[in-house]
Amino acid sequence: MKCNGLLGGRAWLLVVSAAALIASLTLVSSPAGAPRATAAVLTPVSAPATIADKDKVYLKDGRVLEGKITKELDGYVWLLQDSNGITHEEFLKPGDIEKVVRAGDGGGAVKPADDTKTDTKAADKPKPPAGGAPRAAILTMEEMVGIQMAAKPLKDAIPLLEKDGVNVVVLKVKSGGGMLLEIQRISDVIHNEYKQRFRTVAWIESAISAAAMSSHCLEEIYFMPNGNYGACTGWSGSLVAVKGRELERVLLDMEKISARGNHPKEIMRAMQISGRDEVLTELAIEPPSGKLSADIDPATGKVTWYQDHSGKYILNPVANIDILTFNAPDAEKFMFSRGTAATKEELTKLMGYQEIEWVGKPKNGYAWPVSDAEEMQIKWRAEITEAQARLNEYFQKYGVAVQTAQSMQTKSDRAVWVAKARGHLDFLRQLAKRFPNIGLMVGINDDWFKEQEDMLRQLLR
């Protein structure tokens, strides 16, 4: 089994690669060598064809948001957006807005956001999606990607969130990374399922390596004051880097995921590979390297990114360290994050709400109410952690039962131990079914179980 990891943090564990994942991704042309690129990603968050009857807000980062302006005050705009029947309200700061085009303006009447006057509804609160304060839930995504932080519990939580009438999901991330194979799965669940149903935002305490790559499909990212995000270099074994064609595939995959989140691809590349020129030879990949710099337009605040050092601010390397990881102040300064919040109350404000109804019950040790969906995440992590730690015990129980059966002289004695072995094998099967990545890590799959069944049957002859 081939092992490639993206694990960050303290654990030097071998983690398993996703050959299947990589194979399943469509290759596009290799990255062009154009070193200068602007951060302006013109893909709208939602782009229905009938734009004439919607207000449009052009942002300085290049995005165009459409919907209904529900409130304006001193240049701040509250925009109610509709995505597949799910509405959410976006709070936009004057400094982020390039211009506003109102429904009925015929597309021609352009009015700078700063000129917007307080209308008669100015005293109203931002309009919540369903006539009251929006209902929000915090889901924690923690520990190792592919084990504790996985797509499955996230997907399983959707019905619970819908049952609770949740409009806003905050994915609070605290993970040092993990398996490459899980990145695309998590990204798909977030992009295809969550973003279609809920206003989904990331709240980053620590998103290192695979955790950052899994969260990268989200446009709306907030940091905690101690937050960090990046260091996405793939490796395995004794700090050996993923190289060559396999690395090119991962780089391309992350360009696609960057596009999902409307993040300039240059940022993720600087998180994945270093900016030293020789790194291209070492890693056997095409240019550009992971050099990164940026300019901030003093008038508009717009950030322009460069995959070289031609910008005013050098982001990679920093302090002689040659892989990009954002801290909270830099993420905010360069508009990668939309702000820094230490508490859910601060986050509420940053998201543009006066008030949020947080779904769930108080729970000891948690600074926010814990919803049923979050309980599911907590339970998943506890169970898989236990299963991972006890794996050797389970294998030993099975192995000892098999050995004992093999040592028995009579068929009836063997049958007793074969029955015990089958019990332990069933347990392993259930475990692999519930936690497929654990099965993958230790190489137990359908074929292995079939071999074991055959062997046990032989013992009964």
Binding site: N226, T233, L239, A241, R276, V279, L324, N327, A401
Partner: protein, 485 residues
């Protein structure tokens, strides 16, 4: 913030800014007579906010985090609650505006002044019913004697006792080797990776505080904060040093992995670790440049004090008013043995009391608890919360030491058990061994956090596997006995 609306605040700010400007003008002109504005300053409490706003009036009530304030605008009185975090400075009325009793600040006994730095007025902290403070000392080996369970227990006790301040004396053991043979580490020794043990504890002094109805203000008093111990004080905005205090011992970040593996992966490891550490500094509000100078031998940092406040430059000094903090440590710049022995190395930064104060990391240098109380403004109003911190911390250390001895002893006892003899003897022996292994599991459950959760679970699982094997052998043995009969 206050309960008054924005328009009121704007009016109030303009009015009070005018008052302050008047005071400033008078002072600059050297006018000896007390102008009206100055009388206001003396007679009323003044709050100067971080955003420049100023309000005057009377402090009605205050605790460690908030101030209830009464003022008036255009003759109309208002009351508002303010967060202390939003306030830059509190100027208290020397004479109570309503002619009530003088405030505690004015009743300071003369002998108190002898303890305080010359010409320094004691700040005044909330004093209604006394200001409760709680002290805990973190001593011993970091991550071992200093661990999350006893610290959390102390903090719970402090909160239960209604402490307004929790004073944490950081004094970790920086020696190496077993206790009986321990010797001081070399100045260049470092332990950056104790960061992750620090992260097991730093929440107790930061995010966990928010879960309390009345969170105490945590104050670190640094005697020795080295290795992982350097990170804990950095999570708190308020830090004092003792005269011989030191904070550092984390200067090996870019040497952690030697030449293992590919450079790009080593860089990844450095990057993620640095940002974890910077997160701690961000939480406490400290300069990440200083943290980098403490952690990265190649990082160059210079300081100047153009207006008295430190300004940092990521380059070598370029003028007489600039002082080198750390050079790049390369070739001729590498610290010599003599410089290291003299404590004058500059490849990485170690904060001393003076440097920490100059760099605005430390709010002051104090050598006993009375001085610290004075600095906090609670030398008279401070009431110590009954603390079992010493017992809790020592109890943990002794318990841990005993636990490690017990683990070694029990392991030896388990290994010494012979599983021979007849069925009864074998059964007894297995029972004894199982009991010992279960005792070991119990010890690990209580003290295993010092190994980290992952390793603790692994050790527990290994013991469980031994127990499972004993159970299996016993079952098999029993079957054979029955068959014999």
């Amino acid at each position: 913030m206050g309960k008054i609306n924005g328009r009121w605040l704007a009016t109030l700010t303009l009015a009070t800014l005018a008052s302050v400007a008047g005071t400033y003008g008078s002072a600059l002109a050297g006018a000896p007579a007390m102008p009206r504005a100055a009388i206001t300053m003396v007679d009323e409490d003044t709050l100067i906010f971080k955003d420049g706003k100023v309000v005057t009036g009377k402090i009605l009530k205050e605790d460690a985090t908030t101030i209830k304030f009464k003022g008036s605008v255009g003759g109309i009185e208002f009351e508002a609650d303010y967060k202390k975090d939003d306030i830059l400075e509190i100027k208290r009325a020397k004479v109570d505006p309503k002619g009530e009793k003088p405030k505690p600040a004015d009743t300071k006994p003369a002998d108190d002044k002898s303890k305080a730095p010359a010409a320094k007025e004691e700040p005044v902290a909330p004093s209604e019913g006394g200001v409760k403070y709680y002290t805990m000392e973190l001593s011993g080996h970091f991550g071992w004697d200093i661990s999350q369970t006893p610290i959390r227990d102390c903090m719970k006790e402090a909160v239960k006792g209604g402490a307004d301040y929790v004073i944490v004396i950081m004094n970790n053991d920086w020696s190496q080797g077993p206790k009986e043979l321990s010797e001081d580490r070399k100045p260049e020794d470092a332990a950056f990776d104790e960061l992750f043990r620090a992260e097991d504890m730093d929440d107790i002094f930061s995010t966990d505080l928010r879960s309390y109805d009345k969170p105490p203000k945590v104050v670190f008093w640094v005697k020795r904060a080295m290795g992982g111990g350097a990170f804990l004080p950095l999570v708190c905005p308020t830090m004092y040093f003792s005269s011989d205090g030191k904070l550092g011992g984390i200067g090996n970040l870019t040497k952690l992995f030697g030449g293992t593996g590919d450079e790009v992966v080593r860089q990844k490891q450095y990057s993620l670790r640095l940002k974890h550490a910077e997160g701690i500094a961000n939480t406490g509000g400290y300069s990440i440049q200083l943290l980098r100078a403490m952690a990265i031998p190649e990082f160059v940092l210079t300081v100047a004090y153009p207006n008295g406040d430190p300004v940092l430059y990521e380059r070598m000094p370029e003028g007489p008013g600039e002082f080198l903090l750390t050079d790049d440590g390369m070739e001729a710049n590498s610290d010599t043995a003599k410089a290291l022995e003299a404590g004058e190395g500059n490849d990485v930064l170690t904060l001393t009391a003076k440097l920490a104060q100059d760099l605005r990391v430390s709010k002051g240098t104090v050598d006993d608890i009375d001085q610290l109380k004075f600095e906090l403004g609670i030398s008279r109003s401070g009431v110590e919360v009954k603390s079992r911190a010493k017992q809790i911390m020592e109890g943990w250390s002794k318990g841990l030491e005993q636990a490690m001895r017990d683990l070694r002893r029990l392991r030896g006892e388990a290994n010494a058990i012979q599983l021979g003899g007849d069925f009864t003897q074998r059964t007894r022996a297995r029972g004894q061994k199982k009991q010992i292994l279960q005792k070991m599991q119990g010890i690990l459950k209580k003290y295993g956090e010092v190994f980290g959760e992952e390793r603790r679970l692994g050790m527990d699982s290994d013991l469980q596997r031994e127990i499972d094997l004993l159970d299996h052998d016993q079952t098999l043995d029993l079957q054979q006995q029955r068959r014999k009969k």
